[in-house]
Symmetry: C2
Subunit: 259 residues, 2 copies
């Protein structure tokens, strides 16, 4: 009997990193739901199981809620395969619904983990700020028809930048055991492009619904419902009831994740 050639037919357990985009409008968020609702994780795991002929557990950089979008979500998974990244990308694409796009597939060292290896993430909250709503942006921007003072919003944002206990901006989630409530916001930029206001927040990590709670509070400050000075009190209170309403999910998008 001929001796087996090295690697000729042996399968390799390899680690892959995907960068993906999804339109959250018709998903019940990232994470697989017990009730079988449509989720991004489930679509990916179903496709991987078919491609690699074994069960695959895919890990996202973090969960996104129902209705939240991602322009650069990062996912990692281990698979027994000899396919190269481009082949995997094509195979995945052909099995994805058209509201998920696979932007990139890379092979990564075994210790890379899409969630634990995160260095920083950037989320964008988008507000449509004009008199009439938009048929096109109905699922991608929060329609807010009242005047917003950008200067006050930026001042409040500057106050939140840095290392703080963000408990006032954390929603309760029984499924999450948060590792404390101190995070570092590296940058908040608030830009206006025609009728759209983009709030981009980069941090080393986010508490549950933190971006939507900060955005809701910045909107309340911009509209004058909450005085700018209150931002200090809200942050110091370390209580969710101190901050303002959570801005709606459909205005939120995970822009990018750095490792």
């Amino acid at each position: 009997m001929p001796s087996k050639l090295p690697n000729s037919s042996s399968k390799i357990n390899r680690n892959f990193k995907l960068t993906i985009e999804y339109d959250g409008a018709n998903f019940c968020g990232w994470q697989i739901q017990k009730n079988g609702e449509r989720t991004v994780q489930e679509e990916l795991e179903k496709a991987c199981a078919r491609i690699f002929k074994h069960r695959v557990h895919v890990v996202g950089s973090g969960r996104t809620d129902s209705g939240v979008h991602a322009a650069g979500q990062v996912v990692s998974f281990k698979a027994e395969t000899r396919m190269n990244p481009l082949e995997i990308q094509k195979a995945l694409h052909s099995r994805m619904p058209n509201d998920i796009a696979i932007l990139e597939v890379k092979e990564v060292p075994a210790d890379f983990h899409a969630q634990y290896s995160v260095r920083e993430k950037t989320y964008r909250y988008t507000i449509l700020n004009r008199a009439h709503r938009s048929a096109f942006l109905r699922q991608h921007a929060y329609f807010y028809p009242y005047p917003l003072n950008m200067i006050r919003m930026r001042q409040a944002a500057r106050f939140l930048t840095g290392r703080h206990d963000f408990r006032s901006f954390q929603a309760h989630d029984p499924l999450r055991a948060e590792r404390g409530t101190v995070r570092t916001i590296r940058q908040i930029t608030i830009r206006k492009e025609k009728d759209l206001i983009h709030i981009d927040i980069t941090a080393n990590g986010f508490l549950y619904k933190m971006v939507r709670n900060i955005s809701g509070t910045l909107i309340a400050i911009g509209s004058g419902q909450v005085p700018l000075e209150n931002i200090a009190t809200i942050l110091k209170a370390k209580s969710r009831s101190a901050a303002r309403d959570t801005a709606p999910a459909h205005g939120l998008c995970l822009l990018r994740v750095k490792y």
Copy 2:
């Protein structure tokens, strides 16, 4: 009995012009269908009937097919009402599904007719030209992953500009009695913005599916499937079979209508 004050309770038959935006993805086009499918015209007529308490016939500047979008469709209708345009806009908005937005309501002279009074219209055909598709643009741009030569496309477009018999770019439609097949294309601009190619066509009128047929032909010329020189033969043939495939509906948007 006191004499009636002028106009105190008499209703006025007035003519209104709406500018509206709609996301065509979930509509079976503009025109009311016999089978009861969801159309923009029907949504507007239903809402008008409720607001004005009488049947209202709304006229669009032209039909748009299933899946085609509009950023500036113009609509006219006559109604017996004493409401002012802003009140009508609000009343309509509150009754519209969120994939239709009422951008403007104006009162216009009795002889204004959204279809017959058109001077020119501009349509945009959008192509997503990159290696991977987009989750966000899946219903708003035609995904074409192969190289397109913009110079050749622009040369072909220049050839089509002006007054011509566009029969080669007309789809057969038993419901339409076209007034001849000669139209004047005032301008075609082809611009690339990152991964998107926009083909904007302005004309005094369009034949059925003319923009999608021209776009399909320009794509075939840009990709090299059809030599640039053939554009003259295609136009002269005055036969639909001479031109190329109709580009898909979801890449098309009615940008604006001038009167």
